[in-house]
């Protein structure tokens, strides 16, 4: 246990507090899911790990303390992030978007590009297309691909399936699973849909109003009435 550890993490937007003493621990090679409704603080949690918010508490990756470092340093230490809104570079081609992802991992470009093209053959076919003209599914692929170009040991994926067609969701899930199985990447995803989260993750943390309410393995939570009631509606 404890490749990524988040201890007593609180996050703030001005005076408003968005996370309240969150504790999370992720083992190497594990896939975990942060489940929560809209506004629960999922994106804030991932942003905080990435050094993008004002926080108190401690975040560690392996032996490195991430707290207080800026995103560029955190990327260099091995954290990749595919955000909810993708944050792609709209007037750049797919390939240039991926190349920006390689900014810190310049020695691994060929290997990473190869891996991305294997996982998402579509990105190779469309490598000269500008991302502003792409569909949501394709953008999600570029976003994941760009994160993979940073050579991450830990991959954060914010709501990988939001707004995507069911078929594309399955494709994305399959890729994340392969990433973990074939490349040993540790993965943290967030989800509003607990069903989808359970098909992919080994453990879940349920976030409500910025605090962890429930945590446990998928097996132990599958029949949890509290969870069933709140998150299987969709």
């Amino acid at each position: 246990m404890g490749f990524l550890t988040v201890e007593n993490l609180s996050a703030f937007y001005g005076k408003a507090q968005a996370l309240h003493k969150v504790n999370i621990s992720v083992a190497q090679g594990e896939i975990i899911a942060i489940v929560g409704a809209n506004g629960a603080g999922k994106s804030t949690l991932l942003d905080s790990i990435m050094g993008l918010t004002k926080t108190t508490g401690v975040i560690k990756l392996g032996d490195n303390v991430l707290t207080g470092l800026g995103s560029p340093a955190i990327v260099r230490l091995g954290v990749g992030y595919a955000t909810e809104r993708f944050n792609l570079f709209p007037y750049m081609t797919v390939r240039d978007n991926l190349m920006v992802g390689a900014y810190t991992a310049r020695d691994d470009i060929e290997r990473n590009l190869d891996m991305v093209h294997k996982l998402f053959p579509r990105l190779e076919e469309r490598e000269n297309q500008e991302t502003m003209t792409q569909s949501g599914g394709e953008r999600q692929m570029v976003s994941l691909g760009r994160a993979l170009m940073t050579s991450p040991k830990l991959l954060l994926v914010d709501e990988p399936t939001i707004g995507l067609a069911p078929k594309v969701c399955l494709e994305i899930a399959e890729v994340l699973r392969r990433l973990r199985d074939e490349f040993g990447t540790t993965i943290v995803i967030t989800e509003q849909n607990a069903n989808f989260a359970m098909t992919l993750a080994e453990r879940l943390y349920v976030l409500e109003a910025g605090a962890v309410q429930i945590e446990g393995t998928v097996e132990s939570l599958r029949d949890d009435p509290k969870l069933t009631e709140a998150y299987f509606g969709h």
Partner: protein, 283 residues
């Protein structure tokens, strides 16, 4: 006719060089740098001081002008743009004030009479009835060489792509490991260096005066408005439209009207196509 084409090409090359540093800051830093003309002013005077008053080699003079220009760009980012982060009106007003302060400084140091810069390479070439000073030819060649290098730098290097990335999506750039502060410093440094270099050529094209920051600023604004936000290719094309228009107006109508047509073009484009002819946010 040949004369118009040759003069048009030379002037357009110079205009493209003048506008490039301004475009860079406008599209990457999202700042309308109204003190941009001051880089040209200082560049021209630094060259004048070292190469003409101190008698140093001309190349050294150009180099010093470029270095001072880059330092000015960096200083401005550090001392004005970054502390005022995002407050566009404050940044624009303070950059304008800075330009005026620098103009007064130049008057204090060098007096307010205009000065003739000795050509970097003396002599003229006569071609098909046109007289081409070697300096103007050099300006156009240097300008083309710089524009081509800049195009490759921005599109084909990690730093160049990072500059575009920061302008298109700051969060996307940050999570790709890009330190936007460092990229902004590089951008402002390059912009200052380009401006100062353009200043040396502009001053030798016209003359050195303390108010020589105004005309290049207007040309730059015109090129950015007509071309649309910051494409290098767009800047190049519009520099040629404006350059040729001015030469044609000067030759066929009246030299006094050359600036007027540029203004009419700006207003026309603003009314008809506010995003500019090639308007979109790319480099």
């Amino acid at each position: 006719m040949t004369q118009i084409i040759i003069q048009g090409l030379l002037l357009s090359g110079l205009y493209a060089l003048i506008a490039m540093g301004f475009t860079l800051i406008f599209s990457i830093g999202r700042v309308l740098n109204l003190a941009y003309g001051a880089y040209l002013l200082i560049g021209g005077y630094v060259y004048f001081y070292f190469a003409q008053m101190m008698g140093m080699p001309k190349l050294v003079g150009v180099l010093l002008a470029v270095i001072v220009g880059a330092a000015m760009g960096l200083a401005k980012y550090r001392m004005i743009v970054k502390p005022l982060k995002g407050d566009h009106v404050a940044i624009e007003i303070s950059t304008l004030i800075l330009a005026i302060v620098l103009q007064s400084g130049v008057i204090l140091a060098f007096g307010d009479s205009s000065k003739i810069l000795l050509p970097i390479i003396p002599g003229v070439e006569r071609l098909a009835g046109a007289t081409i000073p070697y300096s103007n030819l050099l300006a156009a060649i240097v300008s083309w060489a710089i524009l081509i290098s800049l195009y490759f730098f921005v599109n084909k290097t990690h730093t160049g792509r990072a500059m575009q990335a920061v302008s298109m999506d700051a969060k996307g750039a940050a999570i790709s490991g890009i330190d936007s502060d460092r990229i902004n410093m590089i951008t402002w440094g390059i912009s200052g260096a380009l401006g100062a270099l353009a200043g040396v050529f502009f001053a030798s094209y016209t003359q050195l005066t303390p108010s020589m920051w105004v005309a290049p600023l207007i040309i730059s604004v015109a090129i950015v408005i007509v071309g649309g936000i910051g494409s290098i290719i767009g800047t190049l094309i519009v520099a040629h439209i404006i350059g040729f228009m001015e030469i044609i107006v000067t030759a066929m109508i009246a030299p006094e009207l050359r600036g007027v047509f540029t203004m009419v073009l700006i207003i026309g484009v603003l009314v008809i196509r506010p995003q500019g002819l090639f308007g979109r946010e790319e480099l």
